[in-house]
C-alpha cells in the first residue's frame, strides 16, 4: 500500500476553554471509504474543516496528499472535493451555471469545463434538469449536484459531511450508490454521519467519535469482534435430535442459544452458515432456514457506551 492520502496525528481544536476535537489520529488510504461516525456535536465537522484548511488547527498535524492544509490550502483544495453538511447552491442560478462557476474557480479551461460538467451531471442523473434553477431542486437533488461538483473536480479525495442526512430512503440509496461509484474510480472517501446503519454498508473502516475523541477505530468486523465478542449471529431453524450439541462443536461458534422449538441462535466470530448447514445435514437433521445477522454498528455503538457506563458506575 502506498502512502496514506490523509494522515491525521494528535489533531485538536479548542474554542476558548472548550475542546471540540481532542487528540484525534487516523489515516485514510487510497481507494478506501472511511467513516467518521458519532452523534451530532462530536467534532466530526470541525475535524473535516481542519483537514480542508477552513478552520485553524489548535495543535497536532494533518497531511492531505502530503500537503499541510494550513500552509498550502490551495494545493489541498485543488485535489480534494468537499460536500458540506446540507450543501447550498445559488438558488437563482441553474444547476449548470452553479457548476460552471465552481469549475471556473477550480481554474478549469473553457474547453474542458463543459465536457466534464456534462459527464458529472449524467453520472448523478441530473443532466435532464441541469437547466432548471436550483431553487426548484429537492434536497436529494442538491446533494447529488454537490457530488457532481466533486466528480467534475476529478478529486483524489472526496470529503462528504453528513451526505445522507435528511434524505428519504430512495434518495439515500441513490446517493450511497454514487459514493460506491467514487470508490470504483479510485477516489478515497472520507464521510461523516450520525446514521450508523446507513453508513455501515459503504464504509471500509470507521472511526467512532464521542465528545471530540475517537473512541474506536477499525473495520466493522474488527470492532464487532472487539466489542461484541463474536460479531455474527446465525439463526438456524432445523428439525432433528441433538442439533444444538452438534452445532456447539462447529469451529468459530462461541455460544448456542435455544430460541424456540426448532430454532437455535449461534454467536460466532465469523459467518458460519456453511459449517452450520453441513453440521445439521451430517447429523441427519432437516434444515429449514438459515440466516445471518452481520455485526451492526448500531449494536457495537450501543454496547460500547453501555460498557463505558458500567465501568464508570463501578
Amino acid at each position: 500500500m502506498s502512502e496514506p492520502l490523509i494522515e491525521v496525528r494528535h489533531l485538536s481544536k479548542q474554542y476558548g476553554e472548550t475542546t471540540v476535537v481532542d487528540d484525534a489520529s487516523f489515516t485514510v488510504n487510497g481507494g478506501e471509504i472511511f467513516g467518521l461516525l458519532g452523534p451530532n456535536g462530536a467534532g466530526k465537522t470541525t475535524t473535516i474543516l481542519m483537514l480542508l484548511g477552513l478552520t485553524e488547527i489548535s495543535s497536532g498535524q494533518a497531511r492531505m496528499l502530503g500537503h499541510d492544509p494550513e500552509r498550502e490550502p490551495l494545493a489541498v483544495k485543488r485535489r480534494v472535493g468537499y460536500l458540506p453538511d446540507s450543501v447550498g447552491f445559488y438558488d437563482h442560478l441553474t444547476g449548470l451555471d452553479n457548476l460552471r462557476y465552481t469549475a471556473r474557480l477550480m481554474g478549469m479551461s473553457e474547453s474542458e469545463r463543459e465536457a466534464r460538467i456534462a459527464t458529472a451531471l449524467r453520472r448523478v442523473d441530473l443532466y435532464a434538469v441541469a437547466d432548471k434553477r436550483v431553487g426548484t431542486f429537492s434536497r436529494g437533488m442538491r446533494q447529488r449536484l454537490g457530488l457532481a461538483e466533486i466528480l467534475m473536480k476529478d478529486a483524489a479525495i472526496a470529503i462528504l459531511d453528513e451526505p445522507t442526512s435528511g434524505l428519504d430512503p430512495q434518495a439515500t440509496l441513490e446517493l450511497l450508490d454514487i459514493i460506491r461509484g467514487l470508490k470504483r474510480d479510485g477516489v478515497s472517501v472520507l464521510l461523516s454521519s450520525h446514521l450508523l446503519d446507513r453508513v455501515q454498508s459503504v464504509c471500509d473502516r470507521v472511526a467512532l467519535f464521542q465528545k471530540g475523541r475517537i473512541v474506536l477505530i477499525g473495520t466493522v468486523g474488527e470492532l464487532g469482534r472487539q466489542i461484541l465478542g463474536g460479531g455474527y449471529a446465525v439463526e438456524v431453524e432445523a428439525q432433528g435430535p441433538g442439533l444444538a450439541e452438534r452445532l456447539k462443536q462447529v469451529p468459530g461458534v462461541t455460544m448456542v442459544e435455544q430460541t424456540g422449538a426448532d430454532r437455535v441462535r449461534l454467536l460466532a466470530d465469523r459467518d458460519v452458515r456453511p459449517e452450520a448447514a453441513a453440521a445439521v445435514v451430517s447429523a441427519g437433521g432437516r434444515l429449514l432456514r438459515l440466516s445471518v445477522e452481520e455485526p451492526s454498528l448500531e449494536m457495537i455503538y450501543t454496547r460500547y457506551f453501555q460498557d463505558q457506563g458500567e465501568r464508570h458506575a463501578a
Partner: protein, 323 residues
C-alpha cells in the same frame, strides 16, 4: 509564514459572477429606476430654472447639477448624495451573510481560492455595478442638458463633471464598504440592512444639527475677531465631516462651482459674510485649484472606504466558516 499562491486568484471569476447577479437582480432594477426618475426630475426642474434666469453664466452647464428650485427643492447632486448611499447599502447589506445563509460559503471556499478573492470580488462587483449606473445617469444628464439647453458644455465643465462622477463613485464605495462590513458582522441580512440604514439616516438627517450642537458646546462664546469666527467654523466642520455626506457635499460645492474658493465660503455666506483672501483675484478658480481645495476631502473618502473594507476583511478572515 508565507501563504502559498496568490490572493488574487479567482477575483475576476467572483467579480463577473457577482456583477451578473447584480445587473440581473430585481433589487438593482428597482434602485436604478428610483435614482433615474428622481435624477431626471431634479435635472428637469433645474433646466426650467436656468431657462428662466438665462443670466450670463460662463458655467451654465454645471448649474444642471447644482441648481435647486421649482417644484423640487433638491439639486441633482444633493439627490445623489442622498440616494447613492441607499443604492450602495441595497447592494451590499447581504453580500456575505447570504453566502452563509444559503450555505454556499463552505462549498465555495473549498475551491482553490482564498477568502480574499471572494471579498475583493464582491466589493469590486458592487462598486462596478454602481459605477455603471452612475456613468449611464451622468451621460443621460449631459445629453438632456444638450437637448434642452442647447448650449454645449465647455471642456472644463465636462472635466469638472467627470471629477464629480469619480468622487460620487468613491462616495458610493464608502457606503458599500460599510454595508459589506455589516453583512460580515451580522448573520441576519435584515439586521445588517437595518443597522446600515439606521446609520445612514443618523448621519444624513440627525448628524448635521447634532454636530452644530456639539461644536457649539466645545467652542462656545462670543466672537470678537475674524480669527475666532474661523476657529469656530473649523470646529463645526471637524464635527460635521465625520459624516461622509458632508465630505461629499464639500467636494461638490467647490468642484461644481469655480467661484467657490473655500469650503467655509458657503457657511460664511449663510451668515451674510464674504471671504476675501488678501492678494487673490476674484473670479473663477481653475479646475486643478478647485480640486486642491477639497483634496483632503477626496482623500478622506478614499481612506474611509479602505478603512471600512479592511475592518470587514479582518473580521471575515477570522470568522468561522460553519454556520
Amino acid at each position: 509564514m508565507q501563504r502559498e499562491g496568490s490572493p488574487w486568484h479567482g477575483v475576476g471569476i467572483v467579480f463577473l459572477k457577482e456583477l451578473s447577479d447584480h445587473l440581473t437582480s430585481m433589487r438593482m432594477r428597482v434602485l436604478e429606476w428610483l435614482v433615474v426618475i428622481t435624477g431626471i426630475a431634479a435635472v428637469y426642474s433645474a433646466i426650467q430654472q436656468i431657462r428662466e434666469v438665462t443670466a450670463e453664466d460662463p458655467f451654465l452647464f454645471l448649474r444642471l447639477f447644482t441648481r435647486a428650485g421649482g417644484q423640487l427643492p433638491l439639486s441633482f447632486v444633493s439627490l445623489l448624495s442622498f440616494l447613492v448611499p441607499l443604492v450602495a447599502i441595497g447592494l451590499g447589506f447581504d453580500l456575505v451573510n447570504s453566502e452563509h445563509n444559503q450555505r454556499t460559503l463552505s462549498r465555495i471556499l473549498a475551491q482553490p481560492i482564498y477568502r480574499d478573492a471572494l471579498l475583493f470580488g464582491k466589493f469590486l462587483a458592487g462598486l462596478a455595478t454602481i459605477a455603471i449606473g452612475l456613468l449611464a445617469l451622468w451621460l443621460f444628464v449631459i445629453g438632456l442638458g444638450l437637448l434642452l439647453l442647447g448650449v454645449p458644455p465647455s471642456g472644463e465643465e465636462l472635466a469638472r463633471a467627470l471629477v464629480i462622477l469619480a468622487v460620487t463613485i468613491v462616495y458610493a464605495g464608502v457606503w458599500l464598504a460599510l454595508a459589506i462590513l455589516f453583512s460580515i458582522i451580522f448573520r441576519s441580512a435584515a439586521t445588517a440592512a437595518l443597522v446600515s440604514l439606521g446609520l445612514w439616516l443618523f448621519l444624513t438627517i440627525l448628524w448635521p444639527p447634532l454636530s452644530q450642537f456639539l461644536a457649539a458646546a466645545v467652542a462656545a462664546g462670543p466672537v470678537t475677531s475674524a480669527g475666532e469666527l474661523l476657529g469656530q467654523l473649523d470646529t463645526l466642520q471637524a464635527f460635521a465631516r465625520l459624516s461622509p455626506g458632508e465630505l461629499y457635499g464639500e467636494v461638490v460645492a467647490v468642484v461644481l462651482d469655480p467661484s467657490v474658493r473655500s469650503t467655509q465660503q458657503t457657511l460664511l455666506a449663510s451668515m451674510g459674510l464674504a471671504l476675501v483672501e488678501r492678494g487673490s483675484i476674484p473670479g473663477a478658480l481653475p479646475l486643478l485649484q478647485s480640486v486642491l481645495v477639497v483634496w483632503a476631502q477626496i482623500v478622506s473618502l478614499v481612506a474611509a472606504t479602505i478603512l471600512l473594507f479592511v475592518v470587514g476583511y479582518v473580521v471575515f478572515q477570522r470568522q468561522e466558516v460553519r454556520a
